[in-house]
């Protein structure tokens, strides 16, 4: 295998590295660690964070791309396919490789549409053909139910086994005490009001259970059906996680430097700098966002048709388009944060400690980095987490009107876009929409709950009320 680092992959890894650096830094500083601890004091937020961590893990697995090796070639040096696949594709191969010919319902073993086929007696009849892969180990449709129950039970068995091992490891490492576990979990009065740690553990266990179910049932059935060309819908939903997560985080990463530098400069230096920056963001924010995005998408389209030869693969092309979408979303999103930061800097500049620092002749640069920036970080933090869910939802809407991500990229917007006419079929093909809805809803809900908790913890106005 030959590693491929796409542009968005590189940015995503930079993002993760800075996230880790921030966690390390915040854990050392009490004034940062305290609000974060209070974020995690809410059971809902703890459980939301667990879900976000799961999504993040999937996105990281899906961001490690490589050219797979082609086996069975005669040459000595390994030959690599021009296709780009990710680690997640490899992990999910048992689910992904079983493509059918067309639609099939969840857990179905017969196809969605009738086909002409030869019966045992040699006659041509039109009937629903058996699926090529799903349930092919069964001889009869009546066995489906018992087979499903058996496989679910074995999934449950694996899950209990894994959980028990995990508990043993934790106990042997003296992270938790067995006595405490028993006392906590058997106490019925706390059952409906779980502690944050319990909420996180319950969520983690539920995520593990669904992973275990997918791993045992997925290779034999299409849990959420197949789409028009027979691809597994569950697989597409999981692949959409990377797109959704990246659009919410990369956009922020791109716009953050602009918003911070310009916002602080405008508020601190005043005068013509302030005028120029205010002019810039008023102009940008008065262009309707969708039109700006549409014009940029159109521009990119033309650019890509003119320079079609520059892209070595469809994936690289889709990746550039995705990056540009993040960029232009960032351009439309930074103005709001910039305005807040400017106003806050104006207020801070009047405070005594900054006046003192200026009176001592400290350089503007050090005053800003030591006194102004640390006092703005809570605004930045709140805006990052609150913007995230809006960006995930925006991706689907923009893709629907053809100015979002590339049609070749797996995203929830593309799933909805492809599925929107399927409701008119008889019987209704609902599973593509449902899957996109489910994955998007869980992510956005978790982000909203977590974001609210972060805002409550970091907003000094709210902190005073408590």
């Amino acid at each position: 295998m030959e590693l491929v680092i796409l542009k968005t992959d590189a940015l995503f890894f930079i993002l993760i590295a800075s996230l880790l650096a921030y966690i390390f830094y915040a854990s050392k500083k009490e004034h940062l660690a305290r609000p974060w601890r209070s974020v995690l004091k809410k059971p809902m937020a703890a459980s939301a964070l667990t879900i976000l961590a799961f999504y993040l893990t999937v996105a990281i697995l899906d961001s490690i791309h490589f050219h797979p090796e082609i086996e069975g070639t005669s040459s000595d040096t390994p030959v690599y396919s021009s296709q780009v696949v990710s680690l997640l594709d490899e992990v999910l191969k048992p689910i992904n490789k079983n493509t059918e010919t067309t639609y099939s319902a969840p857990f179905a073993i017969y196809s969605y549409s009738k086909e002409s086929q030869e019966s045992d007696t040699g006659q041509i009849i039109r009937d629903y053909p058996r699926l090529r892969h799903a349930g092919s180990h069964l001889s009869n449709i009546s066995e489906v139910r018992s087979d499903l129950i058996m496989r679910s039970l074995s999934a449950l068995g694996y899950w209990i086994f894994a959980m028990a091992i995990l508990c043993l490891i934790l106990i042997s490492l003296r992270v938790v005490k067995l006595k405490l576990i028993v006392a906590d979990w058997l106490n019925l009065s706390t059952f409906f009001r779980p502690s944050p740690a319990q909420a996180a553990v319950i969520t983690f266990a539920a995520v593990c259970l669904s992973v275990s179910l997918v791993a045992t049932v997925g290779p034999y059935y299409h849990i959420l059906g197949t789409d028009k060309v027979g691809n597994d819908v569950l697989f597409q939903g999981i692949k959409g996680i990377r797109t959704g997560l990246l659009i919410g985080t990369l956009t922020t990463l791109i716009m953050l430097p602009f918003a911070i530098v310009l916002g602080v400069a405008a508020g601190y230096f005043r005068g013509w700098v302030d005028d120029a920056i205010q002019y810039l963001y008023t102009t940008l924010s008065s262009i309707p966002g969708v039109l700006l995005i549409a014009a940029a998408a159109l521009m990119l389209e033309v650019f890509m048709t003119n320079n079609a030869g520059d892209f070595e693969s469809v994936t690289a092309r889709a990746d550039l388009r995705f990056l540009c979408l993040c960029l232009i979303l960032g351009v439309t999103a930074w103005t709001g944060l910039c305005r807040y930061l400017r106003a806050e800097t104006l207020k801070l500049k009047e405070s005594n400690y900054i006046e003192a620092s200026r009176a001592f002749g400290v350089l503007s640069w050090s005053t800003i980095s030591q006194h102004v920036l640390p006092n703005l970080m809570h605004i930045v933090m709140i805006s990052i987490v609150l913007d995230f869910s809006g960006l995930v939802l925006a991706e689907a809407a923009l893709t629907y009107i053809d100015i979002g991500v590339d049609p070749s990229m797996e995203s929830w917007g593309n799933m909805i876009n492809g599925a929107r006419l399927e409701l008119a079929r008889e019987p209704v093909v609902w599973w593509s929409l449902f899957t996109a809805f489910l994955f998007m809803f869980v992510l956005v809900l978790a982000a909203n709950v977590f974001g609210d908790s972060v805002r409550d913890a970091f907003d000094p106005r709210i902190r005073e009320l408590d």
Binding site: Y279, T282, T283, L284, S285, S286, I287, P288, V290, L291, L292, A294, A295, A296, L298, M299, V302, F303, N306, S389, L393, A396, A397, Y400, I401, D402, I403, I416, R420, L423, A424, V428, L433, F437, M440, F441, V444, L445, N448, V449, D452, L465
Partner: protein, 333 residues
């Protein structure tokens, strides 16, 4: 502050804001031009509109001179004096926009006429959505504020957050499926003139209201709760006013200040309609007009719509400031 003096300050404020709007609108137009022409030359545009193959040079220059694209883009190097800037496409088109002369679209239709026709369907949807949405969200938020701190409050907030987390696309698709396909109460999409259009408008309006319910209710609940914690409310309670009286006479009236000013900012952009809703329901409004223009690369329409959008946005900002002074006499412009 005497009334005359107040009026004077309002008019001088308005003059300043309107003068300030000019450089912003020129900037907006500049950005649109750069975005469009950085990869696309007028020649490319002509080719797209005339059909890519078998286009003669004459046809291209003809198309360009008919639509005024035969000048240099930003700077005319072969001219002298002022003409370096005035003899350009950018100057020509920008001046026309400022007189609201949108001219003809690149496919030859009168843009001003199209906009005046397509404005109404957009307005028929966005105005009822705003009014009904405001009515429902305000009543719900007040009700939740009445039950604050109870299980009703916390479960209502959870419901609101869940409703916010659902993509607008699903409200539309779900509504169309449920009401149009299963129950067959209203048609799925389309539009008609006059009174017959009501049956086409019902579903988009309903979905618009429901789609905004979660976010609106939670936002207004926060505003109400902020007011409830203020001193004057404590005074009102101390005087023996009932909880209902406190909510209606004091909290609601004072909370209306941020709410009204927030709504006023939205008013002008109602004309533009919603891109997604109009595309889904086949409403011939300005939203679908813009999408069509983008997809057919009609620069004249995109330019006109961006300009109009910015004008309405700036108008919204000015109206907000004026509304602030009207509802809250302590604030001066």
């Amino acid at each position: 502050m005497s009334p005359e003096k107040g009026l004077g300050s309002v008019s001088s404020y308005l003059t300043r804001r309107i003068l300030y709007a000019f450089p912003i609108l020129i900037g907006v137009n500049f950005i649109t031009f750069v975005l469009f022409f950085v990869v696309n030359s007028p020649d490319d545009m002509a080719r797209v509109h005339l059909g890519n193959r078998y286009v003669t040079e004459d046809a291209i220059s003809n198309w360009k001179s008919e639509r005024g694209y035969d000048k240099p883009l930003f700077i005319a190097l072969n001219s002298t004096g002022k003409k370096i800037f005035t003899e350009t496409i950018f100057f020509d088109k920008t001046v026309r926009l400022f007189t609201f002369d949108f001219g003809q679209s690149d496919s030859g239709r009168d843009i001003s006429y199209d906009i005046s026709e397509r404005m109404w369907p957009s307005l028929f949807i966005s105005l009822p959505v705003l009014c009904l949405g405001l009515l429902f969200t305000l009543s719900l938020a007040l009700l939740i504020a009445f039950f604050r701190g109870t299980y009703i409050d916390s479960s209502a907030v959870i419901l609101c957050v869940s409703m916010m987390s659902i993509s607008g696309l699903f409200y539309i698709i779900g509504g169309q499926y449920l009401l149009s396909k299963l129950l067959q109460i209203v048609p799925i999409s389309g539009f008609d003139d006059g009174i017959a259009s009501i049956k086409f408008l019902l579903l988009p309006i309903l979905i618009g209201v429901i789609g905004g319910l979660g976010h609106g209710t939670r936002w207004y609940r926060t505003i109400f709760l902020e007011e409830i914690h203020r001193d004057y409310v404590r005074t009102a309670r101390a005087k023996g006013l009932s909880e209902k009286g406190v909510l209606y006479q004091h909290v609601l009236r004072n909370a209306l200040i941020p709410i009204v000013t927030g709504v006023v900012a939205l008013l002008p952009s109602l004309f533009l309609g919603s891109l997604i809703t109009e595309a889904f329901f086949g409403i011939p409004g300005l939203g679908s007009y813009t999408i069509d223009a983008i997809q057919s690369q009609d620069f004249a329409i995109v330019r006109a719509m961006v300009f109009l959008g910015s004008v309405l946005y700036i108008l919204g900002l000015i109206l907000t400031d004026v509304a602030y002074t009207l509802v809250d006499p302590r604030i001066r412009l």
